[in-house]
């Protein structure tokens, strides 16, 4: 685990020194993270007209082009930065598709606007040691890869229940299936996730 996590940090350091192959590996490792972030953000804005893969493409390109502007150092800051880029793009796409509806003054509520979000400067853990921080970022990437590689309906149920924290009644309504069916689907999905995550650990 430690070897693996320092690898992410190494790639980041090398990439910032101008090593192109490290940079490519870094981006490849983060693709699933970007994809999942885009998916969740779009979902949260009830935006179904936008294809997440377009946003992934765009965000990865922006991250490539703007790599020099990344000022953080740790993998965690790196992920937060990527997340911010995705959020900007999601917001833009959302604005674009919603047209003028968003200008309605009655809607001027303090929504949690991702464009105004900032680097993730408040980790839940009050004082993580550097190695913990690294492994946390690494773990996030693993989870993202695992969730992204699930079949569509598995991924959907995990997104709704685990990431969006919806109750099974709501999940069932959203997926247009019975509550029981959703629960079964969810357990299989979590089981598959678990297998994959543990595989990753043993392989690394």
């Amino acid at each position: 685990m430690n070897a693996d996590s320092s690898q992410l940090a190494d790639w980041l350091t090398l990439a910032r020194q101008g090593d192109d192959s490290a940079r490519n590996r870094l981006f490849e490792a983060c693709r699933s993270f970007v994809a999942l972030t885009a998916r969740v953000q779009l979902h949260r804005r009830l935006q179904t007209k936008v294809d997440p893969s377009d946003l992934v493409q765009q965000s990865m390109m922006e991250a490539h082009h703007g790599f020099d502007k990344f000022r953080g150092g740790t993998p965690e800051e790196w992920l937060a930065w990527l997340k911010q880029i995705v959020q900007h793009n999601v917001l833009d796409a959302d604005k674009h598709y919603r047209g003028t509806e968003r200008r309605d003054l009655r809607r001027e509520r303090p929504i949690s606007d991702p464009a105004l979000s900032h680097a993730d400067w408040s980790p839940a853990d009050p004082g993580p040691s550097p190695s913990q921080v690294l492994s946390k970022a690494e773990r996030e990437l693993q989870v993202a890869v695992a969730i992204e590689s699930l079949p569509d309906d598995y991924r959907q149920v995990v997104l709704l229940r685990n990431l969006e924290r919806m109750s099974f009644d709501d999940v069932a309504a959203r997926m247009n299936r019975s509550r029981g069916a959703c629960q079964m689907l969810w357990m299989r999905a979590v089981e598959q996730l678990r297998t994959q995550l543990n595989q990753d650990i043993s392989s690394s």
Partner: protein, 549 residues
């Protein structure tokens, strides 16, 4: 749902309920419940870590503060440099405002964090800090004091007094403010702005949501001067992008002519705020920021008495003087505005002369452009026709010929006035542009038909109608015009007694169709460009100042 009970009988069903209960406990941050479930069912342990990892992923995907407030049972405040952040007060175009506590000073302040793409380079941050330091020297009872300016983890911020109370924008959500109250507030606001100006600061972002009301219900200005820092940060290739809501911006700001922004631009914004306080709506407000900018630059505000007849004429003049398009015609300073308002309160006369009739006439013209341009074309035509009739009094044939035309012209003028009257009365006047268009096409066709003029030289007027409809940038209006014109022209051809060949009508229909397609295409291209500019500008504020948590 019955299958949930049947599942609970099976081992799988039991596991599902346990997992679900455990996940719910994780999500609500209930650790006792997590421990209880684990001890109850050791099998869960194999899943626990993974579920927690997935959940921590959910947390990083969302706003960290949002999660905090959801699970705030045990949540301690978040450290941010010297401060502890204790909840969010509001969000705006430039950043997020938190309630922040300084433990050493034992003092709670409002901390504004600047976010977004505007502050990326160290140079930009340095200039922001410069602006903020200048602003922090200001001390005035009606201006929120800035205490501390800094930069933590690459995140520029400043702190200011917490003002408990709603903003003027919140007050306005309930409609207009009583005249005396509004004037009383505006005098104080204008004097505060004058104080800023005398310290070399132009506010640049005066709007109701930036005027907070303190415990004594007195206005207090926030967010001054910093807009300038932002303006300058903008990439020169995108100068002209709009920061904030254009409803309160002076024409020079709305047009992006940043160098022309002076203290008189703030006087304009003061006028816009006064207008909204008195009328319950800003002088210009359209569906999109771009349309609002166009109105700010091209239109005259409707007189205040249009919205509320209780507003005295003198007061209306004071407000409209602030809203002059040309900075030279506005009050020279915010203080002059305050003094003129005070004179009005005391019932004294103003040293500023009222508008000349010529100016007033041209104002009215710009206020109602749709009908104004029609009158400009139709009234002279009508007069010429009448003159022709009068001159030919001895020839009844001529008078018979012209009388229906005169009537139609009068009806045309009358209907245009009716549409404009309707448009200005109702707020949802989506159909009036179509009414204008169809009226134009019908009367034009009818008059041309009476004269039996189906030849090219006259019917090119149809193409002109289509092209003019393109000014609306509204595709359905353009197509209404196009199809209406083709229909009108075909009626004309059908009724025409003599025409040589079918070639001319076919060519004419093709011409009108081409005009429509090209106009529509242009409108679409321009709309795409405008929209891309609007989305590229991520700073359009969604400002709410909720003072308490």
């Amino acid at each position: 749902m019955t299958n949930s009970t049947s599942e609970e009988d099976t081992p799988d069903g039991e596991l599902i309920s346990l997992l679900d209960a455990y996940l719910t406990a994780i999500q609500s941050g209930n650790e006792t419940e997590q421990r209880r479930l684990l001890s109850q069912e050791p099998k869960l342990a194999a899943w626990a870590d993974d579920l927690r990892d997935i959940d921590s992923f959910a947390a990083i995907l969302s706003d960290p503060l949002e999660i905090r407030t959801q699970t705030s049972a045990t949540a301690e405040s978040i450290r941010f440099g010297k401060y502890e952040l204790r909840g969010e007060l509001g969000r705006g175009g430039m950043g997020v405002v938190f309630r922040a506590y300084h433990p050493e000073l034992d003092r709670t302040v409002a901390l504004k964090m600047l976010t977004g793409s505007a502050f990326t380079s160290p140079d930009q941050r340095r200039r922001f800090a410069q602006e903020a330091r200048l602003a922090s020297r200001i001390r005035h009872p009606h201006i929120v004091s800035i205490h501390d300016v800094g930069d933590f983890a690459g995140q520029p911020y400043f702190t200011m007094d917490i003002v408990t109370g709603a903003s003027v924008a919140t007050q306005l959500a309930n409609g207009a403010i009583p005249i005396e109250q509004a004037v009383h507030w505006m005098i104080m606001i204008a004097k505060a702005v004058e104080h800023l100006h005398s310290n070399g600061i132009i506010h640049r972002d005066l709007k109701p949501s930036n005027v907070l009301l303190d415990e004594c219900d007195e206005p207090c200005l926030v967010d001054f001067g910093l807009a300038r820092a932002l303006d300058e940060f903008h990439d020169p290739t995108v100068t002209g992008t709009i920061l904030g809501t254009p409803s309160y911006m002076s024409p020079e700001q709305a047009a992006g002519r940043i160098r022309e922004v002076t203290t008189r631009s703030d006087v304009y914004s003061l006028g816009a705020i006064l207008y909204e306080m008195l009328c319950g709506r800003p002088p210009f407000k359209a569906d999109s920021p771009f349309d609002t900018v166009l109105q700010v630059m091209e239109r005259e505000p409707l007189p205040l008495r249009h919205w509320n007849l209780a507003i005295p004429k003198k007061l209306e003049q004071i407000c409209l003087r602030c809203l002059e398009k040309s900075p030279d015609k506005r009050y020279p300073s915010a203080l002059e505005l305050a003094q003129d308002l005070e004179r009005w309160v005391r019932g004294e006369s103003s040293p500023y002369e009222s508008l000349s009739p010529v100016t007033q006439f041209s104002r009215t013209f710009r206020r109602y452009p749709d009908v104004a341009y029609r009158l400009l074309a139709l009234v002279p035509t009508l007069l010429i026709v009448m003159l022709r009739c009068l001159l030919a009094q001895n020839a009844p044939a001529i008078s018979d010929y012209y009388t229906p035309i005169m009537m139609e012209l009068s009806l045309w003028i009358g209907l245009s006035l009716v549409w404009e009257w309707h448009a200005s009365k109702s707020t949802g006047h989506q159909w009036t542009p179509y009414a204008f268009l169809l009226t134009d096409i019908i009367f034009m066709t009818s008059i041309l038909r009476a004269r039996n003029k189906a030849d090219i030289s006259h019917v090119t007027a149809y193409a002109l109608v289509v092209i003019l409809s393109g000014l609306s940038l509204n595709r359905s209006q353009i197509w209404t015009a196009g199809l209406g014109c083709i229909a009108g022209y075909l009626c004309l051809v059908y009724g025409a007694k003599d025409f040589e060949s079918w070639i001319v009508p076919i060519l004419m229909v093709v011409l009108i169709t081409c005009c429509t397609i090209v106009t529509d295409y242009q409108a679409r291209r321009l709309s795409i460009w405008i929209r891309s500019r609007e989305t590229a500008e991520r700073q359009i504020p969604i400002k709410t100042q909720s003072p308490t948590i």
